[in-house]
Symmetry: C2
Subunit: 196 residues, 2 copies
DNA sequence: TGTACATCAGTGAACGCGCGTTCACTGATGTAC
DNA sequence: TGTACATCAGTGAACGCGCGTTCACTGATGTAC
């Protein structure tokens, strides 16, 4: 019984610790969504999380550390989403889905000028992005779905297409062009279309 | 002769005024290139231009006004570049060229969350981007270069492709993937490739 | 069981800094007469 | 031609503010004995 009690206490402690750190990351996500990644501040994140302004520093060291932790979380989610993606369209839909479901992560990971070489796990995640796409294209070529053009070129083209579409959506550049209730089918049509 | 003198004086004045304003815009371009559009400040721009920190406020009203002026300049350059672009690839090369030659403008225009509705000239510029692409696609379709698929979908696809490629280049995501001296031919190959 | 100590997540005050904006001003240039 | 006034680009001091970071601390929990 004392063992059980200890375990429970231990578990609660770990949970609290995890929750607090996670709460800060969730707060950062909210702040980025609301104010944009340009106006991110440790104090705003702490305020949103309902903690003291020094809490983020305690957990992440400094501002860049918090951003890196957030990006690392993003790369993990990204890898999951891509792994579960449909090989038939070279994980294009998965890429778009990730960006739409995690716009804050997408922004910080790919478009914030984050120096991925300074933090372990980030460079691997960033580098893995293109690797995953190349592999997807190679699979599609093996299945005869894609032509025998250079795999790297096709992969870069596929990446450009989905990255651009994701960016345009996130930056609300399509708001005046596509109705909100048509956006899903339009996305599908764009990915499926076969230009000459 | 007094007329001539007056004219000269007048001309010099106008030139100085223009130069000063232009100098601030050039300084802003440098600052955005060096520190990123996220870390833009009026004082840094003024410092770079060698003027007092209050000069930008004098010319542009406030920070947002300076950004809007910079974006307006960008949309003008963009329209020029696109108009001179090759219809055969639906101005895709022109889009990429604009982004590579004016990365600071590209960033502020399309990716900074700028509210284009607040300043005259910006909404028109932003809206015209897609219009130009639709027209380019329609021309290509009329010439039989593009299939009879819905023009809007093909235009959105073409926009996604060039916007994504431009973004990946500007955000240095291709640095580990493509050699610097191969980038031009790779870009061409990506735009020319015909995936199934 | 209790007591003494160690750990460590989180706090709150304090710091120095760069920022955007305001505002009275200066001084060069243009205009009226 | 000269004189008096108007305009206006640009200045420099001053303001209040939010920021990142540091640091001694508190207090809850775990550990040793």
């Amino acid at each position: 019984m004392s063992d059980k009690c200890d375990n429970v206490k231990y578990h609660v402690t770990v949970t609290d610790k995890t929750d607090s750190r996670t709460a800060l990351l969730r707060a950062m996500e909210l702040v980025v969504l609301e104010k944009g990644s340009r106006n991110l501040s440790l104090r705003e994140v702490a305020r949103t999380a309902g903690m003291s302004h020094a809490a983020p520093g305690h957990h992440f060291g400094d501002k860049e550390g918090m951003i890196a932790a957030f990006a690392r979380e993003g790369f993990a989610r990204f890898a999951e989403t891509m792994a579960a993606g449909d090989p038939d369209n070279m994980r294009g839909s998965a890429y778009i889905r990730f960006a739409r479901e995690n716009p804050a992560h997408f922004d910080v990971m790919f478009r914030s000028g984050l120096d991925t070489s300074k933090y372990s796990g980030l460079a691997e995640g960033a580098h893995g992005t293109f690797g995953a796409l190349v592999q997807s294209v190679a699979e599609a070529q093996a299945a005869g779905i894609q032509p025998d053009a250079p795999t790297e070129i096709l992969a870069l083209r596929a990446w450009s297409l989905v990255h651009g579409l994701a960016s345009l959506i996130i930056d609300r550049q399509l708001d005046d062009v596509v109705d909100e209730d048509e956006i899903d089918e339009v996305i599908q049509a764009i990915l499926d279309s076969r230009p000459r």
